[in-house]
């Protein structure tokens, strides 16, 4: 069976939801970074699937741009985590709470 576009959309929604849940519940910063990547890739998959459905290229172009942005974002996120690790010696967010709220 060839997967129809709707199957891709279901997978993309699952990826995105997994990402959201991951960002909100996980306490390890590296896992949170991965969850953010999952969300972006879920959106990417949706863009590509819709692009296929509409028989146009716009959505695929978006996904290429998003991949670039995701790489930049990951670089900055990892840099922040490394800096915080040097200062506090941990990558768990619940152990780095000087700020209230």
């Amino acid at each position: 069976m060839t997967p129809a576009p709707i199957h891709y959309l279901v997978v993309s929604a699952l990826l995105f939801t997994t990402g959201v849940v991951g960002v909100l519940t996980r306490r390890n910063m590296l896992v949170i970074l991965m969850a953010i990547e999952l969300m972006l890739n879920g959106a990417n998959l949706a863009f590509v699937a819709f692009s296929r459905m509409h028989h146009q290229l716009d959505g695929q172009v978006v996904s290429v741009f998003v991949m670039t942005v995701a790489a930049a974002e990951a670089a900055i996120g990892l840099a922040i985590v490394v800096q915080l690790f040097r200062q506090r010696g941990t990558v768990r967010v619940d152990e780095t709470t000087l700020l209230r709220g």
Partner: protein, 492 residues
């Protein structure tokens, strides 16, 4: 051989002037950073390049013929119209002021001036892109170009214990917001088969109700996009990061986050709501209603208990996001009140944070209200300037904040949202209390040990002029209203 034709004409380049000026200035600062050996020269020259960029951007933007009809340029990726010129002038002013008021504070918070300037100018180039974005891809790229340098800036302070944590919080929640926004865009694209605002509006106008304005997939996408943009303008209930990040980041960076970033995000929000999805306003106005009401309440209530001025201004910013959103109810007629409110708020809050930096203790980032006690006796001029900005934020006449509030409340009342406007009036009366608490501490309390490390006359002069401008707008709001209305009336 195929002839290569660039799809750019000189008219387009003129319209892109402000954006290009800031982008080139950002590259210029990076070059300066690599060229000079000495730290001091790097800082000074990057500062000059950044200021020249801001000046050129303001110059290019004011050359725009404001009466001219707007048009889409670069294959429909960007708009060139009076709205982008209005925000270009505002952003260029904010960039120049941010650089000037932060200059003497950077040493104290242990941030290298060249790095601050480079990242700030880069972030502003994202904002210049954002206010003219005409499709969802450009909007997303502009938001990221604006946000990524600010994540770095928040954690840049070498000596700070809280800066890194603030950077992490800002990064995680900002990225979450961007990803939610992107998924919303994907759903909107899936329904409308287009990325451009004009095309989306065109699709909604022609499609049947079931496949267009009432389509659940489309409405879900729109709601996700509003959540993402709500994070960026720090509207409740997506405001939880604001107080922590504003407190933890070095004050120069907080200045930039509170003024430039919010102004650009608000402009992009208005552009999208008016340009692309105006036909579904029955649906999104309910969401905006909820956001506005929650922001006004959460912001003002949260600010009451604060003893730290940076946290206080963060909560006040949330409340101001609510007042700002009231201006959106004027759609589909011009949302001039919204644009004017954004401009006035950005200038006032920049002034308040600038004055706070002037009072900043040596090597200490936090300024508590009690640190400001007696400032009126020791530095009467600067305390007066700070008072003007705080009164403007509180919306007390004859400052600009009052005039701006007047226009957004009027917009909400005219659109029939009397209850929400009343809530706005009530909360701003209520909110005046915590601004006055700071004012009273400055003028009535006995002097604390307030060092005001570098009493820079230049910064003081610039802040004084800004305070005069805020008073001037408060006494004669007509011209700013005229420009804001002119800029915002042709978005639809």
């Amino acid at each position: 051989m195929l002839p290569i034709v660039l799809p750019v004409d000189t008219g387009d380049l003129t319209a892109l002037g402000p954006l290009l000026a800031v982008l080139i200035a950002a590259l210029g600062v990076l070059t300066v950073d690599m060229t000079f050996e000495r730290e001091e020269a790097r800082g000074r020259w990057s500062f000059i390049v950044g200021l020249v960029g801001a000046g050129l951007a303001a110059g290019c933007a004011s050359l725009w013929q404001w009466e001219a009809p707007g048009r889409a340029i670069l294959g429909g990726a960007l708009y060139a119209d009076a709205f982008s010129s209005f925000f270009d002038v505002l952003l260029a002013t904010l960039l120049g002021l941010t650089l000037v008021v932060s200059w003497y504070c950077l040493d104290r918070v242990k941030v290298k001036p060249a790095e601050f300037t480079g990242l700030a100018v880069l972030s502003f180039s994202g904002m210049f892109l954002m206010v003219r974005a005409a499709d969802m891809l450009t909007l997303f790229l502009a938001i990221e170009l604006m946000s990524l340098p600010v994540y770095v800036l928040a954690g840049l302070s070498a000596g700070s214990k809280t800066g890194r944590e603030a950077a992490l919080k800002y990064f995680v929640l900002g990225s979450l917001a961007s990803a939610i926004l992107l998924y919303g865009m994907a759903l909107v694209y899936g329904v409308t088969a287009s990325l451009g605002y004009t095309d989306i509006a065109g699709y909604l106008a022609t499609a049947s109700r079931e496949s267009g304005v009432e389509n659940p997939l489309f409405l879900a996408g729109l709601a996700l996009m509003l959540v993402g943009l709500g994070f960026k303008v720090a509207a409740a209930p997506f405001h939880m990061w604001t107080p922590d990040v504003y407190e933890g980041a070095p004050t120069p960076v907080t200045t930039l986050m509170a003024s430039g970033v919010r102004a650009a995000a608000a402009a992009a929000l208005l552009r999208f709501l008016a340009g692309a999805v105006l036909l579904t306003r029955g649906h999104w106005m309910m969401l905006v209603w909820a956001l506005a009401a929650l922001s006004m309440i959460a912001g003002n209530v949260g600010a009451l208990a604060q003893t730290n001025v940076k946290r206080l201004l963060a909560y006040s910013g949330i409340a101001h996001a609510g007042y700002m959103l009231l201006g959106l109810f004027a759609l589909p007629r011009g949302a001039g009140g919204f644009s004017m409110y954004v401009a006035v708020y950005a200038l006032s809050v920049l002034g308040a944070f600038g004055a706070l930096q002037w009072f900043d203790d040596r090597g200490r980032e936090t300024v508590d209200i009690e640190d400001l006690a007696g400032a009126g006796k020791r530095h009467p001029w600067m305390a007066s300037v700070m008072t003007v900005f705080l009164l403007s934020l509180a919306g007390i006449p004859p400052t600009a904040g009052f005039a701006a509030k007047w226009f957004v409340f009027a917009a909400a009342v005219q659109a029939g949202y009397v209850g929400l406007a009343l809530l706005g009036v009530m909360t701003s009366l209520f909110g005046a209390y915590y601004y006055l608490r700071v004012v009273i501490a400055m003028w009535m309390d006995e002097p604390a040990d307030i060092s005001g490390a570098d009493q820079s006359p230049t910064t003081g002069l610039v802040l004084g002029l800004l305070a005069l401008a805020v008073l001037f707008i408060g006494c004669f709001p007509g011209w700013l209203w005229f420009l804001a209305d002119l800029a915002s009336s042709k978005l639809v």
